[in-house]
């Protein structure tokens, strides 16, 4: 690697749908000379308007949205990491945020901060990602960057400060005034590639001076030297201002705001300067791994190329030459020929080919050092796996994977699709542990499971687009669960004497609810009532019962089994007999422990213009929703509610028609809660019908 770690920027570009992320990314790649032509997302003939960016990328033979695209700007090496555009909770979104050191938050100068921007920004906050903002589309009618800056402060709580003011807005948008250099920047050439720096237009001088004062006022808190220079009314060096802004940005106490119009080729180069100047290099960021030997205790990683290696496989891509595994090295360095350990599987992995991805090509490299991003060829692993030097037991991701809350049956439309579905599913489950697939033994259908309707829709769409697998989908099904609500005792004898060796096992104890746990087994048998060697078989027997509850055949959770007595027979007892005894005991005691059904509850946040607040609340209420509250934010309201997932299917269409398409909502899994009695009865009826049907 030629680069110095100080000049590395691993960034994400996060944006609300339709705020111009694709156009901005494309302009960045053009100005950094990674691509040599600019195409419009929305072509004049209207063809582009219906195409989404992925298809557009394919058509052009480039991967501007590949997992990590490398480009260079002013001696800085910038890796642009793809942050998935959808906001359903997936491990994939969280994982890509982990890999970033900084981000550019793109906002539309007309739409401003919308609900999706709020969700993405919260995720970034959780991962402590420093951000700079870019207010795009200043050429659009209704553009108002000052309002967006206000929203950044009020809605997102950023200490947002303008680095620029626009030279003209809407149709008159010419460029920007740089408030540090106090120069007017205009963009000329066929694609705005020539940046002209000139005097500030006369009519903007007063505003520019005022805004510069505001900027200095906001950033001086981060530099004593700058404060001194301001107080002494000395000439203020640009270096001092940049240093103060960088300091504020890195501590996430300041968000510098740039502006322009990527589509009209204005303001992108100063934004790239901002990325290089203000966003952190890998060494500025504190990274932690989880010590698997000590209950996932956090361990700080050092960006030292000589330390033992720790690297995260954050994305898999099916390429022309097989599986490409994108990795980020957090500690040490990974070189060709090294042998590392995959922490999840414990397998040794020999590093073969190492590459670095450019927009449309790849370059073979010898090693990847701490802080850098690269890709491996020919390594069999799953997304999220950690590779470490032998002797280390550190994982970059928790082994905890939330259970899916929704499932969907998929049926291939033709034979060709059948083959491709298998390939696609094989890849998706490797990429995303929250996505699962299996074949239902009873119906023979292929079932996919995930964390929300949109989560599954994305994968169905990807099957169609990337694997040419056309599928029909069934109605989404909610993953209900069963649990018990009270303690109940059991004393069960399994006895079988039908010729040959008999079976005997007696188990006694109780089951009780244990909220927040899946299954707990406690052995309190004393005096050898059950010989020790049979205890694991008893535990296994109970555990196997958890997969399908006797009540409705949903998975059972939150059960503690305490075994305190039993009996065995010197000849007839065996592992099999005790396992059967445990299963029999569970079937027998379960009903007395008052089982109930739990359903996934989603946290739903709707952002709507005030005039629709009432009808939106009504629509949420009708869905067995519990409205937690409403937040008035001037012309918009944000409504927060907790709603059963089963009631949320198709809500986006309902919301659109209720609000003339002006409201938006986000949804994420919150908790499991007991279903009301009438729903439980309905479910029982349906389950009985299905059973009959299958029989």
């Amino acid at each position: 690697m030629k680069g110095d770690i100080e000049n590395i920027r691993n960034i994400g570009i996060s944006a609300h749908i339709d705020s111009g992320k694709t156009t901005l990314t494309e302009r960045i790649l053009f100005y950094t000379k990674r691509i040599h032509a600019i195409h419009d997302v929305r072509g004049k003939d209207g063809v582009g308007a219906t195409m989404d960016s992925m298809e557009l990328e394919k058509e052009r033979g480039i991967t501007i949205a590949s997992a990590a695209t490398f480009c260079e700007w002013n001696n800085h090496e910038i890796n642009i990491i793809d942050t998935p555009g959808h906001v359903d909770f997936t491990i994939e979104v969280e994982r890509s945020l982990r890999v970033l050191d900084g981000a550019v938050l793109v906002l539309c100068s007309v739409g401003g901060v919308q609900s999706q921007s709020i969700t993405v920004d919260q995720q970034m906050k959780r991962y402590r990602v420093p951000r700079i903002a870019f207010i795009n589309k200043c050429d659009r009618s209704g553009a108002n960057p000052a309002r967006v800056i206000r929203q950044l402060r009020e809605k997102l709580g950023h200490n947002a400060v303008a680095m620029q003011i626009p030279i003209g807005l809407e149709g008159e948008h010419q460029g920007v005034v740089d408030l540090v250099t106090m120069k007017g920047l205009t963009f000329e050439g066929a694609h705005g590639e020539a940046v002209n720096s000139g005097p500030i237009p006369e009519e903007l001088l007063d505003e520019a001076r005022e805004k510069r004062e505001e900027l200095l006022d906001a950033v001086s808190i981060f530099s004593d030297e700058l404060t001194e220079a301001i107080l002494e009314e000395k000439e203020i060096e640009e270096r001092l201002i940049y240093e103060a802004i960088r300091k504020g940005t890195l501590t996430r106490e300041l968000t510098p705001v740039f502006m322009g119009s990527a589509y009209k080729n204005k303001g992108v180069q100063p934004l790239l300067d901002g990325v290089a100047r203000f966003l952190p290099c890998p060494r500025d960021v504190r990274n932690e791994g989880l010590d698997m030997a000590h209950d996932e205790a956090p361990v700080e990683l050092v960006a030292d190329p000589k330390a033992p290696v720790v690297a995260l496989a954050f994305k898999l891509e099916e390429g022309q030459y097989g599986q490409l595994t994108y990795i980020r090295v957090y500690q040490g360095s990974l070189s060709k020929g090294d042998t590392v350990i995959n922490v999840r599987t414990g397998n040794k992995v020999k590093i073969g080919r190492l590459v670095r991805m450019h927009a449309d090509q790849m370059e073979d490299i010898e090693s990847i050092q701490a802080g850098f991003i690269g890709a491996l060829f020919g390594v069999d692993c799953a997304s999220g796996d950690t590779f470490v030097a032998p002797g280390l037991n550190i994982s970059m991701t928790s082994m905890y994977v939330p259970d899916p809350v929704i499932s969907l049956a998929i049926v291939p439309k033709d034979n060709n699709a059948q083959m491709n579905i298998a390939k696609a599913l094989n890849r998706f489950v490797k990429e995303d542990p929250t996505f699962r697939s299996f074949v239902d033994d009873e119906t023979g259908e292929t079932i996919i499971e995930g964390m929300g309707e949109l989560h599954l829709e994305v994968y169905v769409e990807r099957m169609r687009r990337e694997y040419k697998a056309e599928v029909k989908t069934g109605a989404p099904r909610v993953r209900y669960r069963e649990t018990i609500t009270q303690l109940a005792e059991f004393d069960y004898i399994h006895k079988k004497q039908t010729g040959g060796a008999g079976q005997f096992g007696r188990v006694a104890g109780w089951i009780e609810p244990v909220p927040g746990e899946e299954f707990v087994f406690e052995n309190k048998v004393t005096g050898g009532a059950i010989p020790t060697q049979y205890i694991p078989a008893v535990e296994k027997g109970f555990k196997e019962c958890m997969a399908k509850g006797p009540k409705m055949e949903y998975p059972v959770t939150g059960v503690k089994v305490v075994l305190n007595d039993g009996a065995s027979h010197s000849v007839d007892s065996s592992d099999m007999a005790f396992k059967a005894a445990a299963k029999g005991a569970f079937r027998e005691v379960y009903g007395r422990a008052k089982p109930v059904i739990h359903e996934p509850i989603m946290k739903v946040v709707v952002e709507t213009p005030n005039e629709f607040q009432g009808s939106v609340m009504g629509s949420l209420n009708q869905r067995r929703g519990l409205i937690v509250g409403s937040q008035d934010e001037g012309v918009m309201s944000v409504i927060e509610a907790e709603i059963p997932l089963s009631e949320m299917f198709g809500y986006s269409t309902v919301l659109r028609s209720l609000t003339q398409g002006k409201a938006q909502f986000t949804m994420e899994f919150a908790t499991y809660r007991e279903v009301p009695k009438f729903i439980a009865e309905e479910l029982a009826k349906k389950a009985a019908e299905t059973k009959q049907h299958v029989a």
């Binding site: 609810p513 909220p515 607040q613 009432g614 609340m617 009504g618 209420n621 519990l626 409205i627 937690v628 509250g629 409403s630 937040q631 008035d632 934010e633 001037g634 944000v638 927060e640 809660r673």
Partner: protein, 231 residues
Amino acid sequence: MLKKDLILRNPLKLIGTDEALLQSGAFCAVTARAGVGKTAFLVQIALYNQLRGKNVLHISLTDPVRKVDLWYREVFRRLSEKYRVQPMDHLWEEILPHRFIMTFRVEGFSAPILEERLNNLSEQGIFSPRLIIIDGLPFDKDLGPQLSGLKQFCRENDFQVWFTVRTHRHEDPGPDGVPVPLAPVFDLFDVVLQLQPEGQEIHVNALKGANSDTKELSILLDPSTMLLLDS
């Protein structure tokens, strides 16, 4: 401990502000300096009302919905721990539907807006409060007309309202002990309680209504848990 016991252990009954004693449209206030525990105090009033199945509307002019919700969760958790309520989750889920949080910007809040929002909620059968909590109303501004309008609306709808009133260290109370920000609208209030830090304790004093004959009520706010205790 059962829900019933938790209600019986309610130290607020010592204040004598049980709603049966108050007329419809009653205004109550809790005054203190910033950070002494006004919100925690009112959240406890809200929680005890929710436990008795009464609907509470919590209006915050300073915090977002999530933060207000967090206040409730935290105070409820502490109450449950203190009185060993089991199972805590069930009781929380039982009382949750009795609460609705609304947040407004200070400049966006007024009696007509509140009226419009509440009518909307009750017409659709979503929520009808009995008790309203208003946290963060700036009493250092002229609130006379706004509060009079609000009082009228609350009287018509039989709501009881609790306000937080922030006082300042640099402002001495009037000769009758009334905090300066509350003085211009003192007449509109039926009950005024003051949280007064003294050493390691926070005393609850009655400035008006309640058991104000005794002035110092036999109730304390524990600064470490922000829970109300019998002294």
